[in-house]
Amino acid sequence: MIYVLYFIVFVICVYTARHYWFTLNRLFGFQRHPYIDIDTASWPLVTVLVAAHNEEKVISNILSALMTVKYPEGQMLVIPVNDRSTDGTRVIIDDFVERFPGRIQPFHRAGGKGGKAAALKDAMELVTTEVILIFDADYIPGAGLIKQLVAPFFDPEVGGVMGRVVPLNVGTNLLTRLLDLERTGGYQVDQQARMNLRLVPQHGGTVAGVRLSALREIGGWNDQSLTEDTDLTYRLLLHGWKTVYQNRSECYEEVPETWAVRIKQIMRWAKGHNQAMVTYGLRLLLGKHRATLRERIDGALLLGVYAMAPVTLLGWALALAVFFRGVAPLHGVIALFALTAYAALGNLAAFFEIAAAARLDGTRKRICLLPFLILGFAVSIFSVSRAALSQVSDLVTGAELHWDKTERFRKVL
């Protein structure tokens, strides 16, 4: 029991060190934004896929925004992927098609397997361009975003591109404010540090791009995956393609406004991520492929982030058991020192990362909300652990993974 606990403590320390490494890199290290200066070029043909399943509340916003972006005329085709919508999504899309002839080609999908990956997979029959951009329907791209996301594809090593997601409905309630802080830390520090350090920036499946030839080489979209973005990141990596992160390619999104929707969302992410961990973890660490040593280590740690929630809960349970059975070595002196050190440094790591991110963003007062993140973390740790347990039980019972769409909160225009 004590050795399991040692192992868990060691893994937690590794993640703690990783948090500090990333944050210090963002604060003091060399920042890589190699493609952001490409403002003049012979811009290639690009297809923009907009994944939409019952998105009548938001679809018109993104289509309007895409019709006003700065990209050479005739070089961009928008394909709204209407995945079995039962609301007014189809009508809205068809209206846009009429208003902007030749610029939007709808893909209405009436049946087939559920899930974003399955819908994108089917929509690929319409795609002929080498560069593909993907947006979820609740995103609102700015004028220069398409060029910024296309620019990295001039690098022949790049297979995938990820932009930065910025919550739009920040001020709605405590949850949206906490999610705003989490997103800030995740993108401004985590993703950019991975980019700086040539590790594994994660493809997010939205505000993102993929190279058609790379996608074909890795076998296309994986409709078995709950998180096609994580799946894509690792398959690209294993085939020698890089995913790059563009921190200055920002795009507004809508974050969940109720805890129920948030829990559902994070449980889906956890299941998909764990699925990728089981599928690619060992192969990434030990297999023969083109990833570098640092990519293997970082990629494995990234795969394990959602598994850390149940592991941490187990660690707490073991720590209690060890304490009450009195088996701590050296009469608990080491444990006491370790606990004190962790309370001072370890717990602080995630908060330090988010505070640093907020500072980099130039925001001030929202850092005050940092203590409330404990609440967000607590909800996440139990939801993610629950997802992991249900995943294990699904494995035993042979139940199929189920894809849940995230509910939207925007008012219909």
Partner: protein, 357 residues
Amino acid sequence: MNSSLAVAALILFVSLMLMLPLVPAFVELRRKSDASPLNVVQQHAGEIRHFANSFRTYIQVLEPTLQQCVASGTTASGILSDGVEYLALGRCDDSQTLPIQQPGAVCPVTIASGSDLVLPPEITFLRDVYAGGQFRGGDSNSYRAILGEKNVHLGHSSRVSRWAHAVGEFSAEHDCELSGRISSDTCIRLQGACNFLRLNAPQIETGHVMHGEDSTLLNSEDDTNASSGVVQRFLHDGDFEVHAGELVTGNIVARGKLQIGAGARICGSVKSVGDMILGAGVSVQGSLISGKQMLIGPDCNVNGPIIAERALHISAGTRCGSLQHPTTVSAPRIEAEEGVAVFGTLWAREHGEVVAS
């Protein structure tokens, strides 16, 4: 005090102490003083002419005054709506009447000329300068910003701290320091020892450029192979070398250093994670990307974007892009020898310099 009360007081005290760090959080949650979405630049999107366009709009209120000055051959002065003082000039020699003739003088007002503008040397202009016609600055002048509706010419050792835009040609004599955004709708010409950061024009030339026809990088058959959509990718885990005169059809990715021999032709794009060295006369149809330093030899032709993450040296006779295919050349530090032509954007994040070949 009985013991129950003491315990209750202790619990209350501890609870209050625990709540203390949360006070700012509760205050912010209630006040929502920083609850708006992060300000994402949505519209002008880094457009190099943004400041020039804004200034043109800003100065439009002076249009009638300028027309009047030009028609009557007089000068006028006044204060703009935001409190900035201006001087409107009607004749090209009006600057001789400015109260700033002595070397080292500082001109604190916005200068707007309805026609050509010729400025005396060794003056510091603290406000923006507008020329409705040709602009010719004296030697060793220092400008905040310049907008010229025709050609803009800077005398030697001049300095621009924010931006300059010429509708016509922008040219700078030797030893100029161009710290901000410099753009032209036709051409930018920089002489030796000029420093720059961000340049944008259909054609940018350093020193004297030998003008030939727009380069035909590859013959039509090669071109067809390379542009037919998906091109083959050659991935090399270590250092790699393309031999002199070799023709490669496909994209090359080297995870180490990459050397391309003289006269080689690449129908595709090239990436090296380490340093990249191009010999003389190399042609690349796509882009050149280096994770570290890049050295482009003399008389090379590159069609696509050129990015070096650390430093870039471009030798004389090299052409980056073409009039038909404008491109971007970018690195934190750029040295461009005299005789280099770039079609599009030349962007040095930290320091760019025209050096002798």
